[in-house]
């Protein structure tokens, strides 16, 4: 596709609900990243995939957060039993370079509000 797309763009969840956020990276991009951005802050690294392999998940804040990329293209970030502190914009980025990562292309983000 022309760029990284994310869906939904906005999600409102009641506390305790499970949510799934989708990322469609640029076609052919090997690397995919998830970030969480709180209001007024920079993006915080969550996890990184190279193809279908999740190489780094050190940024996932708890075991309620789970990410997958089963076929090395589309990725889903799942948050179980959402809490109010999960409210943030979730950004996905992809990069064409495996190994050393350079320019990342970001999607528009999914704004999650937990009520």
């Amino acid at each position: 596709g022309a760029g990284v797309s994310q869906s939904p763009r906005y999600k409102v969840a009641k506390r305790g609900q499970d949510v799934a956020l989708r990322c469609d990276p640029i076609s052919g991009h090997v690397s995919l990243f998830w970030y969480q951005q709180a209001l007024g802050q920079g993006p915080e690294f969550l996890t990184y995939f190279q193809n279908e392999a999740q190489l780094d998940k050190s940024g996932l804040p708890s075991d309620r957060f789970f990410a997958e990329r089963p076929e090395g293209s589309v990725s889903t970030l799942k948050i179980q039993r959402t809490q109010q502190e999960d409210s943030a914009v979730y950004l996905c980025a992809s990069s064409g370079h495996g190994g050393a990562i350079y320019e990342q292309y970001f999607g528009p983000g999914t704004r999650l509000t937990v009520t």
């Binding site: 920079g42 690294f45 990184y48 050393a100 292309y105 970001f106």
Partner: protein, 113 residues
């Protein structure tokens, strides 16, 4: 533990003048640095990068300077244009953590006519 810091939350500059954005870091293992620009309701857009083996990289109106001894980098925009009004983030990666980029909190730049 915030390892990348942008201590100026905002910057106002007149059109045509130079914008200088600063970024400090604490991790001496960082080997690659990037600057991103972000408009409201959009994802960040890559601007320019620099490897730790260099001290300067230039791309059109944008120049990034890296001072490793001071653990400081800066982005110069010359001349500033109204379309440069956005939030700017610096990001850094350690050589042992592949894809784990750490971002600063951002600097809001406003370019006035």
């Amino acid at each position: 533990d915030q390892q990348v810091k942008q201590n100026s939350p905002s910057l106002s500059v007149q059109e045509g003048r130079i914008s200088i954005l600063n970024c400090d870091y604490t991790n001496s293992m960082f080997d690659y640095f990037l600057w991103y620009k972000k408009y409201p309701a959009e994802g960040p857009t890559f601007l320019i990068s620099i490897s730790s083996i260099k001290d300067k990289n230039e791309d059109g109106r944008f120049t990034v300077f890296l001072n490793k001894s001071a653990k400081h980098l800066s982005l110069h925009i010359v001349p500033s244009q109204p379309g440069d009004s956005a939030v700017y983030f610096c990001a850094a990666r350690a050589d042992d953590s592949w894809g784990k980029f750490q971002f600063g909190a951002g600097t809001q730049v406003v370019v006035t006519p």
